[in-house]
Amino acid sequence: MRLTQGTFSFLPDLSDDQIYRQVQYCIDNGWAVSLEYTDDPHPRNTYWEMWNRPMFDNPDAQALIEELKEARAQLATYYIRVVAFDNSHGWEAPRLSFIAHRPAEEPGFRLERTETEKRRQQYTLQPYASAHPPGQRYR
């Protein structure tokens, strides 16, 4: 399966040039860009690990691309996403978030059903990979 979280997951994987242009768009809007990574892609895993602090005063997308190259080298078997934060009043939240790197194999999720009363099911979603400890989940 292909994890389709993030803004551009239905497109072919973005090249570094394409990522650069998206990051520069964020910076030009005054948003702080950062990288986050995880090997637990559960859709409600909100807090991916922070690779760095958001770049608040950086005018050039190339700085993030360099960080991304370094992160990929160290975290080839992880998901890495770009997150852009907007601090303007009334937002103060991410404005763009997209996956910039993903593991070669994505086994997907197990849906477990527990039958309860009146035909109702309790659903639990588990990434197949999370059966292993962090750091040993993807190849």
């Binding site: 997951s9 973005l14 009043h89 991410p94 997209f98 099911q121």
Partner: protein
């Protein structure tokens, strides 16, 4: 009743038994400077032949506040000047012979705090049947911050909904399950599963899906949540379906909403036809239970569409943001339903902005400060398809929900492919826009480029690429010529 002037009557003359002109009873106040705490309204009035527009405006002010048809002495037991609606400005509607805009100010104490129901009982109450008028339309209202702060507003709002769903930087995508009537629960859930797995964020019950012989509401909720959970497992994304809890009475609405919550749905929906009190009760319930509330505007066109009588939809949007809906259907511009571009832009501004400056070209007659009330997601639904993606993004922007019902389910390769076509078209367009491309002019080319590697998108463009709904709008701004839609 002749001999009206702008000079106020003496108290003795004013309270003599009998019938006076409304303008002589204190409802026409051209010298009045509205207070920051007043609620303001602008009406389009079409007086009967021979009725003076100023007298008509004063009558509207009177009938929507304290007046009755004759002088009553009991007025004098009250601080009557405070409670009178005050018509303070009348001007002819541009390009018309028989219509006037009447601006009226109402003291804040005329209204119960936090009650749109009470506001409407006055402002669109008896006055709309008043005989001296051929027609009356409530065009816009200004709510002072003091009154805005008596409402909770949307429980979730655009920003928190995006955080909860983990979806940023693009419009959300939905589809209304079709056919809207007749599917069994089991078949209905099939449509939900296919559409969500294919790439939509949401599916939606239609407005008239409640609990009919062909599908009981519990059955629908159970099958829909099976579909939502399966689609989440297939994609790793948060998904949802708007479960319509509209019911014959409020107790049953609560029962259905509770069941939706227990099943793990992040969202419920309700129809405008349940009324202001019903919607606000459900909005409060959603606030208590961390649920998103989707509003379908079923019924609104019976009173919003014609320009000479009724209520402008922009007023309905203001009421609904105060009441606290998280989503509201607000038009598509390019789809099958009524929607002039500038007028629709006005509705979207009311949903999404912190402050609306007066902008007559968009039909916004007043400055409106929203005092940090959450933003409402405008929903575009009705006759839209992937081939219009650049136009939809241009007119409606990024913070909107695009609902492709027929444009998903009618896809020649199936529902999942229809959903994928829409998602790919959207992501390709956002990517191009962010890269600085001119999506308005290059849109069709951007879609064709993506269709080279996405067969479902190619099929969608082949099937619907030429479909447009190009009819003149019945509700367009009065202050500029109407731009065309395509």
């Amino acid at each position: 009743m002749e001999g009206s002037s702008n000079q106020p009557l003496s108290t003795k003359e004013r309270y003599k038994e009998g019938v006076l002109n409304y303008r002589d009873m204190g409802f026409w106040r051209p010298d009045y400077d509205p207070a920051d705490t007043d609620i303001l309204a602008v009406f389009r009035i079409t007086p009967q032949d021979g009725v003076d527009p100023i007298e008509a405006a004063a009558a509207v002010a009177g009938e929507s506040s304290t007046a009755t048809w004759t002088v009553v002495w009991t007025d004098r037991l009250t601080a009557y000047d405070k409670y009178r609606g005050k018509a303070y400005h009348v001007e002819q509607v541009p390009g018309t012979q028989d219509q006037w805009f009447a601006y009226i100010a109402y003291d804040l104490d005329l209204f119960e705090p936090g009650s749109i129901t009470n506001v409407t009982a006055s402002i669109i109450g008896n006055v709309f049947g008043f005989k001296p008028l051929k027609g009356l339309r409530l065009e816009d209202m200004r709510f002072p911050v003091a009154y805005v702060k008596t409402f909770n507003g949307p429980a979730t709002g655009i920003v928190v909904e995006r955080e909860r769903l983990d979806k940023f930087g693009r419009p959300l995508l939905g589809a209304t399950v079709k056919p809207k009537l007749g599917l069994s629960g089991r078949n209905y859930g099939r449509v939900v599963y296919e559409a969500l797995k294919g790439g939509l964020d949401f599916t939606k019950d239609d407005e008239n899906i409640n609990s009919q012989p062909f599908m009981h509401w519990r059955d629908r909720f159970l099958y829909c949540m099976e579909a939502v959970n399966k689609a989440e497992a297939a994609t790793g994304e948060v998904k949802g379906t708007y479960l319509n809890v509209t019911a014959p009475d409020i107790e049953q609405m609560y029962e259905r909403a509770e069941f939706a919550k227990e099943l793990g749905s992040p969202i419920v929906m309700v129809d405008l036809v349940v009324g202001y009190t019903g919607i606000q009760s459900l909005a409060n319930w959603c606030r208590r239970n961390n649920m998103i509330l989707h509003l379908h505007r079923a019924g609104h066109s019976t009173y919003t569409r014609q320009k000479t009588h009724g209520v402008s939809f922009r007023v309905i949007v203001k009421w609904m943001r105060l009441i606290g809906v998280d989503h509201i259907h607000a038009g598509t511009v390019v789809g099958k339903l009524e929607g002039d571009p500038m007028t629709t832009a006005g509705y979207y501004d009311v949903c999404r902005e912190e402050h609306n400056p007066r902008n007559l070209e968009k039909g916004l007659f007043f400055d409106q400060d929203w005092a940090s009330l959450n933003r409402t997601f405008p929903v575009a639904s009705g006759g839209i398809h992937a081939g219009q993606m650049h136009q939809l993004l241009h007119y409606l922007g990024e913070d909107t929900i695009l609902q492709f019902g027929g444009g998903t389910i009618g896809h020649p390769m199936g529902i999942e492919a229809g959903a994928t076509a829409n998602r790919v078209a959207l992501e390709a367009m956002i990517l191009a826009r962010n890269e600085g491309r001119d999506t308005w002019n290059e849109g069709p080319e951007i879609l064709r480029e993506a269709a080279k590697w996405c067969t479902p998108l190619q099929k969608a463009l082949d099937t619907w690429g030429d479909v447009t709904f190009d009819y003149a709008s019945t509700d367009s701004p009065d202050y500029v010529t109407t731009p065309t839609t395509a």
